[in-house]
Amino acid sequence: MGSIGPQKLATWFDAYAAQLVLYARQWLDVGLAEDAVQDVFVRMAAIRSEPANAKAWLFRSVRNEAISKIRSRWRRQNHEAKRAANQPNWFEPRPDELVDSAMAQSALESLPAEQQEVVILRLWAGMTFQEISDIVGRSVSTVADRYHSALAAIRRMMEKCHER
């Protein structure tokens, strides 16, 4: 394994940047989330050997970066609260979507953080439970339980919205 060339870096950026930003937005606003993703890609160019699983490496690094950035976000919480009103949506609204994107975002945001993280990694990063367990540092069964609980909660919330 050699160092990572620019072509590979660009390919991974095109493939995973949007999912990584979505993943980082669990902890950060969109600006800081993009900063975290950019920092991780820049850092990736400096590592000596290519990671065995580049996608898992990227998501794990973004997770660590976001958690470190969230500490500084807490220090300037007032400033962030003012910016929060103008945050863009998590998903692009499309006419052919099977579920309403705003409703899905609302349901996701209401989940506990550990469930939210697992759902995003599973559905939009396309990871297996094993890969997710490596990133979040929990067992596969714990990850699977969180995922099922999260899906059940989202279903209940969406049914409630439809009833209204």
């Binding site: 620019p6 930003v21 820049v42 990736m44 400096a46 949506n89 099977l98 094993q130 699977a144 099922h148």
Partner: protein, 170 residues
């Protein structure tokens, strides 16, 4: 563990619907990111630059330690109590002076200087350049005019005039 085994049909349907949502596109400038990544890729470590800096600093320090170090010597003059004279000399220069000038001459010179300071020019010793003989006695106006009587010269107007004109011609 099979990921799909524990999902109910309703959950699978929901999973499929949710996964169809597209994450919002990012506003990260890819070109800028590639530039930053390229710049970062060449700054991999500080080991060799750091090692070079340490060696350069050690070389400069060793050079500085080899240079002769000058220092200030304070000496008191015997005749000037309470008034220190400051001399700034390096060791090598002081050593050269010690070897060049004989140490026995310094006390004589200093004694003479003290005497001159105390009594004035009268303290200077007379330099006897001409022996006290009749032939080699100092040339005086009296001798020049041929008067060997050792009597004080009286004023002689024509001699004075002659001498003056001779001096003017020469």
């Amino acid at each position: 563990m099979n990921d799909k085994n524990q999902l109910s049909p309703a959950q699978r349907e929901l999973e499929q619907a949710l996964s169809g949502l597209q994450p919002m596109g990012t506003s990260i400038d890819r070109d800028r990111l590639m530039f930053l990544a390229g710049r970062r890729s060449v700054r991999r470590g500080y080991f060799w630059p750091g090692l070079t800096t340490v060696f350069a600093a050690a070389f400069v320090v060793s050079l500085a330690m080899q240079l002769p170090s000058g220092h200030i010597q304070y000496a008191k003059h015997p005749g000037l109590e309470g008034k220190p004279i400051t001399l700034t000399v390096s060791e090598s220069i002081a050593g050269d002076r010690e070897t060049r000038s004989p140490s026995s001459s310094r006390p004589n010179y200093l004694d003479l200087r003290d005497k001159v300071l105390a009594r004035g020019l009268d303290a200077l010793p007379t330099i006897n350049r001409f022996p006290e003989t009749a032939e080699n006695s100092p040339m005086t106006l009296q001798r020049l005019l041929g008067d060997t009587s050792n009597q004080p010269m009286r004023s002689n107007p024509w001699k004075i005039e002659y001498l003056f004109r001779w001096g003017a011609k020469s």
